[in-house]
Symmetry: C2
Subunit: 351 residues, 2 copies
Amino acid sequence: VGRFRDSEHQHTRYNPLRDDWVLVSAHRVKRPWQGQLEKPPPEDVPRWDPNNPLCPGATRVNGEVNPQYEGTFVFPNDFPALQPDAPEPGDSDHPLFRAAAARGVCKVMCFHPWSDLTLPLMSLAEIRAVIDAWAELAAELGASYPWVQIFENKGAMMGCSNPHPHCQVWASSFLPNEARLEDRTQRQHLRQHGMPMLLEYAEQEAHRKERLVVENADWLVVVPYWATWPYQTLLLPRRHVCRLQDLHEGERDSLASIMQRLLIKYDNLFEVSFPYSMGWHGAPTGPYLEEDCGHWQLHAHYYPPLLRSATIRKFMVGYEMLAQAQRDLTPEQAAERLRSLPEVHYKQRSK
Amino acid sequence: VGRFRDSEHQHTRYNPLRDDWVLVSAHRVKRPWQGQLEKPPPEDVPRWDPNNPLCPGATRVNGEVNPQYEGTFVFPNDFPALQPDAPEPGDSDHPLFRAAAARGVCKVMCFHPWSDLTLPLMSLAEIRAVIDAWAELAAELGASYPWVQIFENKGAMMGCSNPHPHCQVWASSFLPNEARLEDRTQRQHLRQHGMPMLLEYAEQEAHRKERLVVENADWLVVVPYWATWPYQTLLLPRRHVCRLQDLHEGERDSLASIMQRLLIKYDNLFEVSFPYSMGWHGAPTGPYLEEDCGHWQLHAHYYPPLLRSATIRKFMVGYEMLAQAQRDLTPEQAAERLRSLPEVHYKQRSK
Ligand SMILES: O=P(O)(O)O[C@H]1O[C@H](CO)[C@@H](O)[C@H](O)[C@H]1O
Ligand SMILES: O=P(O)(O)O[C@H]1O[C@H](CO)[C@@H](O)[C@H](O)[C@H]1O
């Protein structure tokens, strides 16, 4: 059998934040792929299109005309999954048929007036403006709602139906599954180990280095030890921070910088505008603002689907849906690959 | 605000099998879709292709030549995620960095010698042969492995790289996440309510009828109250059955029949070979064969991605990955739609 090497020998790894496991079978990346190829993203997005409802000056489905905005721009989602005033479902008549009330708001935030930009191609000042807008919305909606989910679906592969750089913010009257899960695991870790889980984790990773992608004085990005998506990353502050709105001036600037560096590396990996879903998790808000949030640590998850190239993704299907996530390269291999990529965007390299 | 109606008013529903929630926002199906369109499956798959490693008589990557099989055919996966002999990872040096041993085997099972068939187009006797082969493999691998995951990825959209009708069987030395979860929730339900969860659930649904898709003397298929995928279904026996290998002769015949009826309806929904991932869950095996499995009930999950048409899928992305699954039509609407479809396959209708 021989000595264990994690790049050669399948094993499982524990995800302490979700209390579940991932199967790591690094030898599997060798198998040939004859399945579905993805369409690369369009290269010819017009900077301004009067028919694109996210553009400055365009008319949205509800007849409203967008202002000639010059920075970020926030407006209500025209097809919100959460509305503020849904009535309460009646009492359940059976424990296997339980429904609960759901209220909330859904907003869309444009990052920039131009449709042909993405975050990694924006300036530090422009990214900083996005961070400020996130923090502002998180505080505003968090004044009453328990959970404010900021997330970006980037690329058609991730269900994004509009190339204009934007994210969404869904605030809800309930703690969604992932929030409840991370609340429970972080609370338990603090109780058992006397230190917030992700603060301890960031310290460990800063020291171990093999899963680091980029770091600066305030932040670090790692491919987590328990990553499920091939190039999944976790963006963590070095300081104990509960929520986005708690970040200082300097931390916002260094966040803009580390996001830019990460996203340029992502685009450089397969020389394509890298698709992903990303989102922020921080301590719950609304009524929870009164409670101790010492176990929580602010963080962002990046979940990119690509595995081998701009057109070959990882499918999280049969075994993954029915049994357990499985990955085809080790987190250390993914981190090394990302770490070694240049920090100048492939579109901006002088030829 | 008015009276609550679940087809109009967003709400959340509890999934007792996974101990989590889904957000149901049925009004959202009205929003227009301008995002990615999927490629419909190829219509011109050759019945036999010597270069297709799943065909009778073809040579596989390891140089082996497939027999001229005439029914089902089982062989080892040439790129297995699980191998029988991986060495044990060393002890963890930190609670946030925990790895465990993973051993197992991965098999591929062809359903039929022809590449241009799918289960819904096969005869009852041919489907029955698949069920027998499943039960046999489940028993054989289950003699030593704790979990035997039988799953089918159907369609390129579900990561299936070969149109030949087949499924996979991955047996592991560990209980995967979904198995552990369903073990815990079913155990707790039996303890609290004195009846296996899914036996009680099947009785309730047989009586309530609004989520029924098809039923016969031994089986029923429902869009579960807590379904996340638009047309997700749950296939349940009416009798208390722990594992596939425990099914009687008559139950295997009636299973072939209900599978055929369900899968014909699925194909008829958008008049396309309906993509999905499906898989069987039953009581754990190997060392667990000695233990009481009274809380377990055998069942199959079908997870199909399509939402509106043969080319428009549901994307489970940003909000779903970071917060909570969200669906755009009610389970009752999905069940009604499936129920109303003919039980003759659209390709076999006389014109
Ligand atoms: O059928 P294949 O080619 O082995 O692989 C497919 O199913 C596996 C099990 O669900 C997944 O891990 C792969 O991502 C998917 O492409
Ligand atoms: O961006 P859209 O068009 O609102 O929608 C996209 O993101 C939503 C939130 O993750 C998902 O529910 C949709 O399935 C996806 O298509």
